[in-house]
């Protein structure tokens, strides 16, 4: 028997380590207790997988340390009744069975801290094949056939970048992995590094061989300490086995490997800013051309790809470019990983073939809304992307089709919203983010985003004026035109898409001074429904300004003149007697 505990960051945050310790303290004799990375069913964490002698899996979910004894008894006796309430439901199992996992194929399956488990799963075979049986040109050709495109968001053909870096003059080249996953609401790359670090290393080494680089560098966000720890461990193991270093597999190809931790700047996801940061400077983008393929890290030819892009490479080499290209649409091949979060019932990591619809992901796999409110929109691509409304839910997952909505494929963040999310507030949220993260180099981005944020702030406070929407649009287009890098060029997208699809909400804020979603505190009023109020006095006791009056067991009343709309009464009421209007 094998007991495997899901220990990605989400799992640990939900208490997986406590569960593991509790299991170690039981009297289990005939079972091995080990860990795996992120299983992807984040909403069911902590998850404990039990494999019997025939490798049959019993999956236990939402386990707490108090369940350890019951699990131990179950493992000893085989009596499923002991853990009945923990066994994953058939409905929840569909979350995984409906997916097609390539980049995530080992996530939640193998132990990310043991290289042997990766090797036993067929790991490093693709690297051996590339180095020993293929020329770099062959590798690039296979990637070209596969149609693999940059998974960081831009969707640029990977083979083209590799070929450009390969063709560049110079014997010192760098292969860089962009693991600075800064989009709020996205955690695909973190999960890949935490759960299958060797897959990233293998993909990078194949890429390094293809372009002729002797140095591989990973730039990881400092906010991902576990990913950094597991990647360091994996590099150490691979180096000990001779997979990183001199003359790998006797092929004559050599490559070293380093990790650099980012220090918290969203703009460093832009490749030239990332290079500046790697060199120890402020992460401010460089003018292109020259492109990194010609002049990148230390002004040497460099190639930069995202984590998920590399995570597909070894599978493609092993299974052939055609197998990868067989999945997807005309213009978008293979699979894509999404981090599905927000108001969705089942949140977590979803990998599906391109060509499926948003509905397949949000309702088919995600199970629809977790609240009783209807689906309103999905935000894709983070601060560079946009909000896609409910009536476009049949949009196909394809770079072009998503681009046509005004949003983007993005790196994979998919934040689901219901009727309680204010779309003007959402635009403001992202503008607040980009205004803070703008590096300040280009005036349009630096000042334009700030001015837009001020306007959105005014609108959400009920101080919007006639003509604000038009002015916002004008600013959007001038920022797009006037910014040097992707951050500025895409920063207006959240505003443009919300104006495009939810113009009526902007107008309600500006003209009627109302927030239809009931989220903007300045535009709502709290009221007590007398019939529902039990007179428990809890709201009155919680009110910081004594705006609520009433006597015990009698309906209370809010003095709207005094009320500061902090919402404390609303959240404290146990009877649903307080409403927002």
């Amino acid at each position: 028997m094998r007991i495997v505990i899901g220990q990605g960051s989400c799992g640990i945050a939900a208490g997986a380590e406590k569960v593991r310790k509790a299991l170690l303290n039981t009297n289990l004799k005939n079972a091995e207790i080990s860990i795996t990375g992120c299983i992807g069913m984040c909403y069911l964490e902590p998850i404990v997988d039990i494999y019997d002698e025939n490798n049959k899996l019993t999956r236990l979910v939402r386990v707490s340390e108090n369940d350890a004894e019951a699990i131990a008894s179950y493992v000893e006796s085989g009596d499923e009744k002991l853990v009945e309430k923990l066994i994953v439901s058939d409905e929840d199992s569909e979350f995984l069975s409906k997916q097609t996992r390539i980049a995530l194929r080992n996530c939640g399956v193998i132990n990310p801290e043991k290289i042997d488990e990766y090797v036993n799963a067929g790991g490093y075979e693709a690297l051996k094949k590339s180095l020993c049986d293929m020329t770099p040109e062959d590798v690039i050709e296979v990637i070209k056939t596969s149609g693999l495109a940059g998974r960081g968001g831009a969707g640029f053909p990977t083979w083209f970048k590799w070929n450009a870096a390969r063709s560049s003059e110079g014997d010192e080249k760098y292969l860089i992995c962009n693991a600075d996953e800064g989009d709020p609401g996205a955690f695909m790359d973190r999960a890949v590094i935490e759960s299958d670090p060797h897959n990233l290393i293998e993909g990078m080494l194949i890429g390094a061989y293809a372009i002729g680089a002797k140095h591989a560098v990973v730039y990881v966000r400092a906010e991902y300490p576990l990913a950094i720890k597991r990647l360091k461990n994996a590099i150490k193991q691979a180096t000990e086995k001779g997979i990183i270093g001199e003359n790998i597999f006797g092929s004559g190809f050599s490559c070293d490997f380093t990790i650099k931790a980012g220090a918290g700047a969203f703009v460093c996801g832009e490749e030239t800013a990332l290079i500046e940061s790697l060199e120890g400077h402020r992460g401010m983008p460089r003018l292109k051309p020259p492109f990194p393929a010609q002049s990148g890290f230390w002004r040497k030819p460099s190639n930069i790809n995202n984590v998920e892009t590399f995570a597909n490479v070894s599978w493609i080499i092993q299974n052939g470019g055609e197998a990868f290209a067989a999945m997807g649409t005309e213009g978008s091949k293979g699979t894509k990983v999404f981090a599905v979060t927000g108001k969705v019932k089942r949140s977590g990591l979803v990998e599906i073939p391109m060509g499926k619809t948003l509905k397949d992901v949000i309702f088919g796999i995600g199970g629809g809304m977790k609240t009783d409110k209807p689906f309103k929109a999905v935000q894709m691509g983070g601060p560079s992307g946009g909000c896609i409304p409910a009536d476009l839910i049949d949009t196909v997952i394809d770079y072009k089709a998503l681009g046509a909505t005004g949003a983007i494929m993005g790196s994979g963040g998919m934040v689901v919203m219901d009727e309680s999310t204010c779309m003007v507030g959402m635009a403001k949220f992202f503008l607040d983010f980009t205004a803070k993260e703008s590096c300040g180099k280009c005036i349009h981005c630096r000042i334009g985003t700030k001015r837009m944020l001020e306007m959105l702030d005014r609108i959400t406070k009920g101080e919007g004026k006639e003509g604000d929407i038009e002015l916002l649009e004008e600013l959007c287009y001038s920022i797009k035109d006037g910014a040097l890098c992707g951050l500025g060029q895409t920063a207006p997208n959240p505003v443009l898409t919300t104006i495009k699809y939810f113009r009526n909400e902007y107008e309600a804020h500006i003209k009627d001074k109302k927030c239809p979603a009931g989220e903007c505190s300045d535009l709502i009023e709290y009221k007590i429904i007398a019939d529902k109020c039990k007179g428990c006095t809890l709201c009155a006791r919680n009110c910081p300004v004594n705006a609520i009056t009433g006597t015990v067991k009698n309906p209370h009343v809010i003095n709207t003149e005094k009320c500061i709309k902090c919402g404390k009464c609303y959240t404290s009421c146990k009877f649903g007697a307080i409403v927002k209007e």
Binding site: P184, A263, F266, T341, T421, F430
Partner: protein, 159 residues
């Protein structure tokens, strides 16, 4: 706390390893912050001396990245996630609760030096939103009541 003299000998190891390696400034600053909890002025001057990088440039880099701090932080550093999923799941309410409970704003430390509050970029635990980290521990699915209890428990624990 702020007036304590800074023991610069703690930086010897870091500077011996990285001072002459080009492109290492961010790594040096990260290690320095790991040692002191922030970037003390004296340390920045020493780094400048050993690396040959002007203090103005070091400050330029230090202030550019959100990770770096120039003031000591409290015993418990609360990092409240500002990601999209947390926003959609009412992290604003949690921020207000922490502010009310501790009487501090984003970036400030309580007078007793116990808590510091910092709003941070997405922590990547979106399925547990709203989320905060306090030092190394992550707390998810927060509600105002749960948040108050966590703060109260930490305050009790440090007595």
């Amino acid at each position: 706390m702020a007036n304590k003299t800074v023991d610069l000998s703690l930086l010897d190891g870091v500077l011996n390893e990285y001072a002459q390696v080009k492109g290492s400034l961010i790594t040096i600053l990260q290690n320095t912050q790991d040692i002191y909890g922030y970037l003390p002025k004296e340390a920045i001057e020493l780094i400048s001396e050993k690396t040959g990088i002007a203090t103005s440039e070091i400050m330029g880099v230090g202030t550019f990245y959100t990770q770096f701090r120039f003031e000591p932080v409290g015993k418990y550093l609360i990092m409240l996630c500002q990601g999209t999923a947390c926003h959609v799941n009412s992290s604003e309410l949690i921020l207000q609760t922490i502010k009310d409970e501790l009487g501090i704003d984003d970036g400030q430390t309580t007078e007793d030096g116990l808590f510091s509050l910092k709003c941070v970029a997405c922590l990547g635990c979106c399925s547990l939103s709203p989320v905060m980290m306090i030092n190394e521990d992550t707390y998810g699915s927060l509600t105002p009541d749960k948040t108050k209890k966590i703060l109260k428990d930490l305050r009790e624990a440090s007595k």
